[in-house]
Amino acid sequence: MKHFSNRYIFIFSTVMVIAVAALLSLAATLLQPAQERNLEIEKKKNMLESIGVTATRDNTVELYSKYITASFVLNSKGEIVEGVDAFTVVLKNEQKKGLEEQYMPVFRAFPDDGEKLIILPVEGKGLWGPIYGYVSLRSDMNTIYGVNFDHKGETPGLGAEINTTEFESMFPGKKLFDNENFISIQVHKGGAEPSDMHGVDAISGGTITSKGLEKMLYDCLNKYNDYLLKNRI
């Protein structure tokens, strides 16, 4: 093996690090617009799925403006805050603030069956990272119309199953409230009774993700409590 001087090693590593840094920042800058557009489409697509509309990447923007026509932001007392665009609210950042300062986005959707829905975003922790989704409620502000969940990095085949139709299809028809009391939805290991209005099956092998999802639903939807009770029919 050839001998290299210390000087050579220092110069070699410096040049290597600078070259790699330049290459990576160039790639990140060039690819950023495409990546951000993907994220926006993804968000709209997930919202559409929570009201039972299946969109492809190409027609997402069009379908979104057709079905999800209004949005507003609430504060923790359930009052509408003016001048904030609900779509740009990042739930993760809001959750770091105190409860009084949090913005809580609400989207209104009008699917083809004539139902008037509201879509509420939720975000929480799975096993490896964040999990998030959208819950759409019927106009009674109690019955779930549809849900869409997604995750950053849950284990494929186990926790990652929360974004499959099999899991999500257990939610429609379940109820958040028992009379005036907020119950949310629980996940049950070994399967929930079909008659249980507040329970769904947990995912085998994905217990921590399932429990995280349960906590996410409770924490996020509980904040809308006042608004939901005030506007229920």
């Binding site: 590593s13 790639a27 495409a34 284990t155 494929p156 085949g157």
Partner: protein, 217 residues
């Protein structure tokens, strides 16, 4: 091999660099490398296939880059240099997937990043690319990626079929009516320990067919 006499690109020798890792020198069943990711991504076929492709591309290109630089890499910091090359490649692949193949990147999520820690890559760079010319190194990278992918796909196929009753998402067991005659999916198969047992069974089968792989103490 003399430097004056150029070898043809697809000689029997370079072909062997590709075929050896598929069977007799398979990275998973013989070198026993990359087991961790083989257990994690093999619950379903689709992530397994994309993972196999990503690892193949990253191994081949890193092998090529390291081999091209091998005479200029100081011996004392070679591991660091290898890691930098692998990490750069993986980040580039990850960024490109996020920009142009968003759905695939979501499927693979953390596992793209974890390619960096896949022992096969470091193993091939250290054992092969540092001592061989770029072209054979590239072929060796392709072969090892393919050998890894082959096992991944066999394990993922078995696990998806018996664990979830589907093949590449297609509900095969339901279509042939297996559930009506009392067949049930095996929940154990989708848990990681079962993947280890499956890999073990493959190693056993492999060795029973090829006695030269058995160590003589």
């Amino acid at each position: 091999m003399s430097d004056h006499q150029r070898e043809p690109m697809f000689s029997a020798k370079s072909l062997k660099f590709f075929t050896a890792p598929l069977a007799d020198n398979n990275p998973i069943t013989v070198q026993v490398l990359g087991i961790c990711s083989a257990l994690a991504v093999t619950v379903k076929l689709k992530p397994a296939i994309v993972m196999a492709l990503s690892v193949t591309i990253v191994t081949a290109v890193s092998n090529l880059v390291i081999s091209a630089m091998r005479k200029y890499i100081p011996d004392r910091i070679r591991i660091i240099v290898q890691l930098v090359v692998i990490a750069t490649m993986v980040i580039l692949v990850d960024q490109l997937l996020k920009a142009y193949m968003f759905d695939v990147s979501k499927q693979l999520s953390v596992f793209v990043g974890l390619i960096i820690t896949n022992c096969i890559l470091m193993g091939r760079l250290e054992a092969f690319a540092m001592a061989n010319k770029p072209w054979p190194s590239f072929i060796d990278g392709l072969g090892n990626g393919a050998g890894y992918g082959l096992i991944l796909i066999v394990v993922a196929f078995t696990r998806e079929l018996f664990g979830s009753g589907t093949i590449y998402g297609y509900p095969i067991m339901e279509k042939i009516g297996a559930f009506r005659v009392g067949y049930e999916n095996n929940g154990m198969i989708i848990l990681p320990p079962m993947a280890l047992i499956l890999v073990g069974l493959i190693i056993w089968f492999h060795r029973s067919r090829n006695k030269s792989l058995i160590e003589k103490n």
